[in-house]
Symmetry: C2
DNA sequence: AATTCTTTTCAAAGCGCTTTGGATTTGCCA
DNA sequence: TGGCAAATCCAAAGCGCTTTGAAAAGAATT
């Protein structure tokens, strides 16, 4: 069923049918009702491709996920983020165009998407320092919103968590409990968020006159295994730390496993504060949080990014919208005073 | 840059340029080289919308994810599955059209996608018994592949894990170790895979003359919390089981937490076999598996589904391709003989 | 009833591509 | 050199929609 057929059935021109459907005022309410009813009845929906071609708008948002070929490690947060975003798009008739790309070809993928006219805007994930994608998207004039911040220049739209502050808080919380040797188990420090968390951690220690000890600082992909392995290394030290801040829930699961295997109780013998993205399928407890954490919903970030992006698509030339979310410190049972 | 402009630059007709680009034989290799070079130079890529309109093929695969409004629980496996699928699509120029939908409106979303002409085929996830989506897609004539099986009729393409067999194996493994009271911690038993796992578990017990005890069988959404809660319930029993089979890694994390808090060692005091989807961001150990598990890569399933779907789009009328993957039993350190 | 102004409708062009059917050029042979 | 087939190329139609500019119908004014 297409426009032509529908208009034939109705005995009305395509123009009028199209206008009736799209809510233009130049059509009487009577015929509009007629058209709407017929469309409903015949299950007619405009062909998006034709619509896109005619209007020049694809009503699609691009979402590019790098394959991260090294370890085949897919960003575990992307599902929730994307769902949050898609949920918001829907309200305005946008859908998501999802593309996988090799790790170092993200920029190229955006360029192609634009050249092929398949999206009206894109979201940039996990920015690095002076991320090239930002430059390219600007050059192309393709609307975009960054989830996170690409250090360097700041003249674009973004939604980010205040990572520095979150990790200052997390570290302070442990310091207040009396801990002095505190480890950092961080994500890959090529990524902006990890850099900021490192800064927060270092800063908090410094403010209490403690020099951050590089031997207590670890950074890699945030897997359960990395958490496990690192915790084992820490326990094997001559003078093990009494606490750690970790960048994700998955890391914490590994940490807890290592502690358990060594007969140590989390929150008693060793304290852990994590950053909790509030993933829908990996909740940090239900009513009561399991781990003490700085929490910030990744899904909410997705919603905000989507909101801004749609706004920018609508009105391209506005001054950068920049949202920094504060993570909430929630206290679970993974922390306690320094064991005597 | 579009075809017209490109052909003007070259001083060649649009027809020839289009044909050169699409590898038709009616164009000399010399001009083809010329065209290709120019396209490259001017960063030309055909507008997908126009292409889709002209050819009637959108080169898009639909992927519908229910929001699961109740608990906002997003299927944690979907990321890996989708990535596997997308990886395969790419090789043949397909991209993914991703849409969120309310839980009970999946069928409608497929119908809309078809009416709007935005996809050439779709993948159906997490089928239920006699899933309505299958019927609708057949009626629409929209190519589809089911990931899993919708019990009921079997006249469609699918890729599934042999869930029954996997759980027979898992249960047998524990029986062989001497366990007799074995719990089942399963996913939501409205879903086909969970039903089959239940059958496998029940069957294995029965084959050893053991009646499955409903008090040891639990089923819900596969969250860490559900695993934790259930394990606590089990431990509180008069006569607790000595082992459990669990349907996912996330459940196992909760189980381990409960055991740890009760001072019990997994694999010594209590044995657990899980089903492991081999998620990229939640690996069950690296070189050595942590949990004894029936393992089947969800990413691989995604790849297979994609492969079949593209094939079916190409040649719609073929007899159902049905692949049943056997899960591999891998032995980790979460199982051991019955404690004395 | 004649004129003007609104309201409602329509035909046709255009979005950027593919593809059919026909035209032109080239190569080969006699 | 002429003739014919094969190799190249092209103009134009069509995919399903939106939108412009104009026409037809209806309402209002004199």
């Amino acid at each position: 069923m297409n426009l032509k057929q529908l208009s034939n059935i109705l005995g009305i021109s395509q123009t009028t049918v199209s206008r009736a459907l799209n809510g233009y005022p130049e059509v009487s309410e009577k015929t509009r009702a007629l058209v709407l009813a017929a469309a409903q009845k015949h299950n007619y929906l405009p062909n998006t491709k034709a619509q896109a071609l005619a209007t020049g708008k694809s009503k699609m948002i691009g979402f590019v996920l790098p394959m991260a070929s090294q370890h085949e490690m897919l960003n575990p947060i992307f599902g929730d983020f994307m769902a949050g975003a898609a949920q918001t798009y829907r309200t305005q008739g946008y859908d998501t165009h999802f593309a996988l790309t090799e790790n170092n070809k993200q920029a190229e993928t955006y360029r192609d998407m634009h050249a092929k006219g398949s999206v009206d805007g894109v979201i940039v994930q996990a920015p690095r320092e002076n991320d090239e994608r930002v430059a390219i998207l600007k050059e192309l004039g393709l609307p975009f919103v960054v989830h996170g911040r690409a250090t360097g220049k700041n003249d674009y739209h973004y939604v980010d968590v205040n990572n520095t502050h979150a990790f200052i808080n997390a570290t302070n919380f442990l310091l207040d409990l009396g801990h002095r040797r505190i480890a950092l188990i961080n994500g890959n420090e090529e990524l902006d968020f990890a850099i900021r968390r490192n800064h927060g951690y270092t800063q908090a220690l410094k403010d209490r006159g403690i020099e951050a000890d590089p031997k207590l600082m670890f950074s890699s992909e945030m897997t359960e295994h990395f958490g496990y392995e690192t915790m084992n290394k820490l326990l094997a030290m001559d003078q093990p730390p009494t606490a750690a801040v970790a960048s994700s829930y998955t890391l914490a699961i590994g940490i807890r496993r290592a502690l358990g295997e060594n007969g140590l109780r989390i929150g008693k013998d060793f304290s852990v504060v994590i950053h909790d993205d509030d993933l829908s399928y990996l909740r940090n407890g239900e009513a009561q949080p399991v781990f003490t954490a700085t929490r910030s919903s990744i899904r909410e970030a997705g919603q905000l990014c989507a909101q801004i992006l749609m706004d920018v698509i609508d009105k391209p030339d506005q001054k950068p919208k920049q949202i920094v979310l504060e993570a909430q410190l929630i206290v679970g049972s993974s922390t306690g005073p320094v064991p005597q």
